[in-house]
């Protein structure tokens, strides 16, 4: 018995040594300094002009005044701008046709992450337009599509780099989920079907269970291990979503939410965040106004690109449009960086340029919300995964 502690200590020390070695190994690769750039940290520090940013072991270090006396490589981005990597909180990128399981209407067991193809062209495209973190969700055609997974877009195909493998349960009260040739054929039917399923979770077991799926996702939804992310775009659907959340006493996220602004008071008091469809994807006239109002009235809101349904560029475009409707540039920028990170609950590692967070950032020629300024480089965990030219 007495030998255990020092054995453990030995192991521990061994581990440290290993870790140290690794750290050194990494350090050689992704520890460096960035100078000369204008940095939009969508965090507390606001905008930093020609500051020197230290990046060690793939994480942001502290901001220092000058790099003299540091024995690390220096990358001179003077004249460029830097913003944190874009977080896309609702995307089907590079797995679109694999993410819809038609066998059943409620398929809560399926985990979206396992069908993601990191080396696919869409993933590449997303990365090149600045999206570094995605929340990969099942499609909206099913009432309960399955479980979404949050992952980094590095072009590493051998193993998926999950941030959260099982993040949210995708529920859809959307028009897409309501079809005339199978249950449910109506919105109330959809809600009823789902509620009955949830009620029956406790009761039924084994042989008298209906359907192919054991519905683990719903069980953990009831336990509270998973939060729902509910697709609802117009008033009726959003009403239903809110009532559903009330009825089951859950916190949840709305996605779509084209008409959410009319319920902004309710959303605010219940603290329900909204993931807004990108503005290019539907009637711009109404959507921009609504989105701007939603942001102005203080609902936690973020833009998502339902890639590949919309272009990844549409995220920056949407943010830009917000600026035209009287939202400050920083606020607008937050709707695609730190708000989505906060909504997804991963704001401690991504979403803004702050000390200790993952070094995911984009280097651009000019202003981040100006489409005229092309992206020069994209870094994920301090590694340059995309550099313009090669």
């Amino acid at each position: 018995m007495t030998r255990w502690p020092n054995l453990a200590a030995r192991l521990l020390s061994a581990w440290f040594v290993l870790a140290g070695i690794c750290a050194v190994a990494w350090g050689a690769e992704d520890t460096f300094v960035i100078k000369g750039a204008k940095i939009f940290t969508s965090g507390k520090q606001g905008v930093l002009t020609d500051a020197v940013l230290l990046i060690e072991n793939g994480r942001f270090g502290k901001v220092i005044q000058n790099e003299t006396g540091l024995s690390v490589p220096v990358k001179d981005y003077s004249g460029k701008t830097i913003m944190p990597g874009i977080v896309d909180a609702h995307s089907f990128v590079s797995a679109y046709y694999r993410l819809l399981e038609n066998t059943d209407v409620i398929t809560s067991d399926l985990v979206a992450g396992i069908v993601f193809d990191p080396s696919g062209p869409e993933a590449k495209h997303a990365l090149e337009s600045g999206i570094t973190t995605v929340n990969l969700v099942p499609r909206s055609e099913n009432l309960v599509g399955g479980i979404s997974s949050i992952l980094k877009l590095d072009r590493e195909s051998r193993s998926l780099s999950f941030m959260k493998k099982q993040a949210f349960l995708k529920i859809s009260f959307n028009g897409e989920a309501i079809r005339s040739d199978r249950e449910p054929t109506s919105l109330m039917g959809a809600e009823h079907l789902l509620s009955r399923k949830l009620e029956s979770m406790g009761v039924e077991s084994g042989r008298n269970r209906e359907g192919i799926f054991p519905q683990k996702g719903l069980r953990s939804l009831l336990k509270g291990d998973l939060l729902p992310i509910i697709a609802a775009s117009d008033m009726a659907e959003i009403n239903t979503a809110i009532r559903f959340l009330e009825k089951w006493r859950m916190h949840g996220i709305l996605v779509g939410g084209e008409e959410a602004c009319h319920l902004s008071l309710v959303l605010k008091e219940k603290g329900i965040p909204v993931l807004m469809s990108p503005i290019l994807s539907a009637y711009p006239d109404r959507l921009v106004v609504n989105a701007a109002r939603l942001v102005r009235e203080g609902v936690t809101a973020a833009f998502v690109s339902h890639m590949p349904e919309a272009d990844p560029l549409s995220l920056r475009i949407s943010a830009m449009m917000l600026c035209h409707h009287g939202i400050s540039q920083e606020e607008a920028l937050k709707t695609i960086t730190c708000n989505p990170a906060r909504i997804l609950g991963i704001s401690d590692s991504v979403g803004s340029i702050e000390e200790g967070k993952d070094a995911d950032f984009i280097v651009m020629e000019g202003d981040p919300l100006d489409l005229g300024s092309p992206i020069v480089a994209v870094y994920v965990n301090g590694k340059a995964v995309f550099t313009k030219g090669n």
């Binding site: 199978r182 919105l187 039917g189 009823h192 008409e259 309710v266």
Partner: protein
């Protein structure tokens, strides 16, 4: 073009609603409002002249000649107007839901329209602008037991604020509508929704018997072991929730009577086009009738076309027999012309008292909310209409609407 109009309307009504929310909250904070009314048609037949109606927190505090003392009052002058209770559509057919019925099953008593209503639909606007302050909304006719209905005020912020009562009646549809489109999978893929019974009236009635008798066999089963649907049916069989039977043709009404004798439930005849053929039975079992539209009876399939005098005189016949009835509209007659139903009935010989009662108090009684609305009385919701003339004169216009004590101008 039309679309644009709708969008504009929506936008405006929305800003209006929000403005009113704020305003309403302020006014209720301020204290009671007094309406100085010239004439009040109370709704139960009585008429009052030159009275003050005091409203506080959306309820009618008092009604009488005198005013309560010691309260700061701001008075609204309706001394030259006729005040009536807000109209109640006992079965409203409005375009506020995308899919009115869930066609996945034939028996869906659990359906609740509250999960499908769009509170910003323009039909609500039309409703309150034409004097309908409360509506009863129920799922559509495509199921045999298609779900429970909901009573809503026609405006006032979010759905939660508009809700009066939920799960009021369980709707049962006789006739062939539920069975339409069902069939065997002949030449169709075997998973299609419609590969099922019933295919005709007979089958529908079989399913009703099958369901209800199944419940009767479960008398001994304790409450908690039942599914929500079964609980609902038990409530129906115990008579706690009345069954609202949509039976248009005379044969369906007869079926309804037969089922009543078998299972002994309380029921309400909805859309009773052929009700005039069963006046005696309806009167003796005192079964309320919801009837309408009065002025439009042609173009309905599914019942033998009798001569129209009977059909449009049905309200009169019902009133003569003392059968409680209320008005409804259907998809052929917009909710905005709800008042015309009564006007036309009056023209065909219905007394004004009966007409107003059918529009207000009887409707409230049928819906079981007579304690809250239906007449101008202390303690009830302040849902009032102000006409500048006889409400049953087409010429006289509606000049003011109060819903839960908030004042709206229908002509703005």
């Amino acid at each position: 073009m039309r679309r644009k109009l709708i969008r504009m309307l929506r936008g405006r009504s929305l800003f209006f609603a929000i403005f009113l929310c704020l305003f309403g909250s302020i006014s209720s904070a301020q204290g009671p409002v007094v309406i100085e009314a010239g004439t009040v048609l109370v709704g139960d037949g009585r008429v009052m002249k030159d009275v003050f109606i005091v409203i506080r927190d959306g309820k009618i505090l008092s009604i009488g000649k005198g005013l309560p003392q010691g309260v700061a009052l701001d008075t609204l002058d309706f001394s030259d107007k006729i005040i009536t209770p807000g109209f109640i559509a006992a079965n409203a057919c409005m375009d506020v839901v995308k899919q009115k019925s869930e066609e996945g099953k034939e028996v869906t008593p659990g359906m609740n329209l509250l999960y499908a209503i769009d509170p910003r639909a323009e039909d609500f606007d039309k409703a309150w602008r034409s004097g309908v302050t409360s509506v009863y909304l129920a799922p559509g006719n495509r199921n045999i037991f298609s779900g429970t209905g909901t009573i809503l005020k026609t405006t006032g912020g979010t759905l939660q604020d508009m809700l009066v009562r939920n799960q009021v009646h369980l709707k049962m549809v006789l006739g062939r509508e539920p069975a339409e489109g069902n069939s065997y999978p002949s030449g169709r893929d075997p998973f299609h929704l419609r590969n099922r019974r019933p295919e005709n009236r007979m089958g529908a009635v079989f399913i009703i018997r099958y369901t209800l008798s199944g419940l009767q066999n479960k008398q001994s089963v304790p409450e908690e072991d039942l599914t929500p649907e079964e609980r609902m049916f038990r409530l129906v069989l115990q008579g706690k929730v009345p069954l609202r039977i949509n039976a248009r043709s005379y044969m369906d009404i007869r079926t309804a009577f037969r089922l009543m004798e078998e299972f002994g439930f309380r029921w309400i005849l909805e859309d009773g086009v052929d009700a005039y053929r069963y006046l005696d039975e309806l009167a003796s079992n005192d079964i309320p009738v919801i009837y309408g539209p009065v002025y439009k009876s042609r173009g309905r399939e599914d019942f033998n076309r009798d001569d129209d005098r009977y059909l449009s005189r049905t309200p009169v016949l019902l009133a003569e027999r003392g059968i409680r009835f209320a008005f409804q509209n259907n998809d052929e007659s917009p909710i905005s012309s709800f008042r015309e139903e009564a006007i036309y009935a009056v023209r065909l010989g219905l007394s004004r008292e009966n007409a107003l009662q059918a529009l207000t108090l009887d409707a409230a009684r049928i819906l079981g909310v007579a304690d809250r609305m239906g007449s101008v009385a202390a303690g009830k919701d302040a849902d009032l209409l102000a006409f500048d003339g006889d409400p049953f004169e087409p010429s006289s216009t509606l000049s003011g609407v109060f819903i839960d004590g908030k004042h709206y101008d229908p002509n703005k």
